[in-house]
Amino acid sequence: MREKEITKLKDYKYGFTTDIENIRAPKGLNKEVIKFISKAKKEPKWMLDWRMKAYERFKNLKEPNWQKPKYPKIDYQDIYYYSAPKSTSENPKNLDELDPKLLETYKKLGIPLQEQQRLNGIAVDAVFDSVSVATTFKDKLNEVGVIFCPISEAIKKHPELVRKYLGSVIPLTDHYFATLNSAVFTDGSFVYIPPGVRCPMELSTYFRINASQTGQFERTLIIADKGSYVSYLEGCTAPMRDENQLHAANVELIALDDAEIKYSTVQNWYPGDEDGKGGIYNFVTKRGLCKGINSKISWTQVETGSAITWKYPSCILQGDNSIGEFYSIAITNNHQKADTGTKMIHLGKNTKSKIISKGISAGFSDMTYRGLVDISFKAKNSTNYTQCDSLLMGNKCGAHTIPYIKNKNPESNIAHEATTSKISEEQLYYCQQRGLNPEEAVGLIVNGFCKEVLQQLPMEFAVEAQKLVGISLEGSVG
């Protein structure tokens, strides 16, 4: 039988760069740069003090090295910590004031901001390099009291909320990259949902790293007040560059009594080329605090991009009866590496958590699920269910499952299941007999494998994610 031609990996669709004039802070990390950022953002003094405190702490921290994906040493003095499109150095009042090139960029990314403005649907905050460039639908959200704005704006306009909650879930001193972020974060989204309000639309942020040699350190803070609900989406892309770029974001979620936050991510940062050159280092700290009783936080992530992904969206289940969920699809191909998972810390009574993780590795890539389920002695009658499945394609890649399970409560139950396998030849044959070529067949079977997670995503994202799953594995079927 004839040899099947292997199609080349499709070019990264988002790999273009945009030629926009930037204002940058001087390269490197020092007090002056932090002052520069704070000044550029016209921040109040308390914010600068906070950053300085983080920086002092950061100087004494050591870079961690326990994670599986190792990376060449990062020279933290060789990074631009602030880069902003020149045209937005004064915050634009509305979309018409935006640099047309920027609008063009977002159009290429499939996020036509102007149309978003008109069409009903999703409110978007677009973060370009270090600053938030446009937030749509502000007026409509204002009507119900929802605050959705760049965090730099929130620091000025809603200091009481920011001061109360910023760093309350990820403390200043938490760990190396989170502390770095606290010192130098530039922008990101801020969301506040008032008591009893169900946010009338999906909120969404698109992150884009454009400038070279630039780190992106955004900070997102979402507060769902008593009895409120919000669904929030983030998407990420970056141009193709030979160098590795660092992305170290912090995301904090706070759910008060009876509130629910659903946070979805489709991460498609540039993964590097076929030989593993270039790509984003995605070192992100995401943590949610179920502070109130009956609160719920649900993380859904589809991780297909980045050269190295290293993140553990976590839930601290502090309120009694609170619920934490983590649904994840992580795909690595070529030379990508991912070490991802979650932590579920059960502190309150009757708390529940659920973890569904689907990992797929192909090419020369390496994938690790790492997770912690910790049921403290006070968390009576709590339960956790974990299901981790891995799929391997070829024998040059690796799949690892490292769950840490701690149970200190006899009235609580933890169940963990994990499997590793490959796509069965029989299933492939069956699909091919029905006319599908091997790549289509694999795409279909893999999407089936990921189904439980995909169906957690809001409709618009689910379709995009499904395509992404297919594209990410192209070239991996021999």
Binding site: M1, R2, K4, S424, E425, E426, Q427, Y429, Y430, C431, Q432, Q433, R434, G435, L436, N437, P438, E440, A441, L444, I445, N447, G448, F449, C450, K451, E452
Partner: protein, 244 residues
């Protein structure tokens, strides 16, 4: 339509089929009967291009050498295999699977792709004909289906993909009499002057409902006798043991 000449098939140096010959013309229904291990399933796997066999000889399908075609290309040309043990594919919705298959085949044939609405209309129609519970089509492919439902699902797929040559690999085994009739009706409704069938079975029971034009007896990897429908009855009376 299908010409098999001197087909020899080995698996891990064990001979399964040897000097196997068969010709099926358009519109004909052939039945192959044989005991366990006679090579029946191997034949259907080789026709649809399953890997893992060492084959020699020649198989022409509409004058094209099948050995040069991948499994899916054979499906595009109109070969359909109703599996003896239909596979479960977790997470994959049956309708989506069917639509993807149908459109892959239509695309290969240069036909227009069906959109969701056209497709659902077609499925509805066919499901009704086969008394197939439509709700099941929204479930994961074959997951949690009973044996009979899986087989009926195969026939439903067959009727939607509308193949030229349908191979039914022991589709009757495990079916109760009602399901058997439905399967037979499905096959009979597809019988046209251009469509051919190869029905592989142990028992002649199915042949009460689907009248074959020819019956072949397969033993030890080759056809030892061919004849009309009466041969199936003879076989049923005598049993394979005493047939030689």
């Amino acid at each position: 339509m299908l010409k098999i000449k001197n087909l020899k098939a080995d698996i891990e140096n064990k001979s399964i089929l040897n000097n196997f010959n068969l010709e099926i013309k358009p519109g004909e229904v052939h039945a192959i009967m044989g005991p366990n291990g006679s090579g029946k399933s191997t034949l259907s796997n080789i026709l649809s291009g399953k890997k893992g066999y060492d084959v020699s000889g020649e198989i022409l399908f509409e004058n094209k050498n099948l050995f040069e075609l991948e499994t899916e290309e054979r499906a595009h040309k109109g070969i359909f295999l109703a599996f003896q043990y239909p596979l479960e594919i977790p997470g994959v919705n049956t309708n989506i699977f069917l639509k993807t298959s149908l459109n892959a085949i239509r695309k290969a044939r240069g036909e227009k792709q069906l959109d969701a609405i056209e497709f659902l209309k077609l499925v509805k129609l066919k499901a009704k004909d086969l008394k197939f519970d439509e709700e099941k089509l929204n479930r994961q492919l074959n997951v949690g289906f009973s044996g009979g439902e899986k087989k009926k699902n195969e026939i439903l797929q067959m009727s939607i993909l509308n193949p030229k040559l349908s191979i039914l690999d022991e589709t009757d085994s495990g079916l109760d009499i009602d399901a058997l009739k439905i399967v037979a009706d499905g096959v009979n409704s597809l019988r046209k002057k251009d469509n051919s069938f190869l029905i592989i079975t142990h028992y002649q029971r199915l042949l009460d409902y689907i009248k074959p034009d020819y019956v072949h007896v397969l033993m030890n990897g080759k056809i030892i006798k061919s004849g009309g429908p009466e041969l199936a009855l003879e076989l049923e009376n005598k049993g394979y043991e005493n047939f030689n």
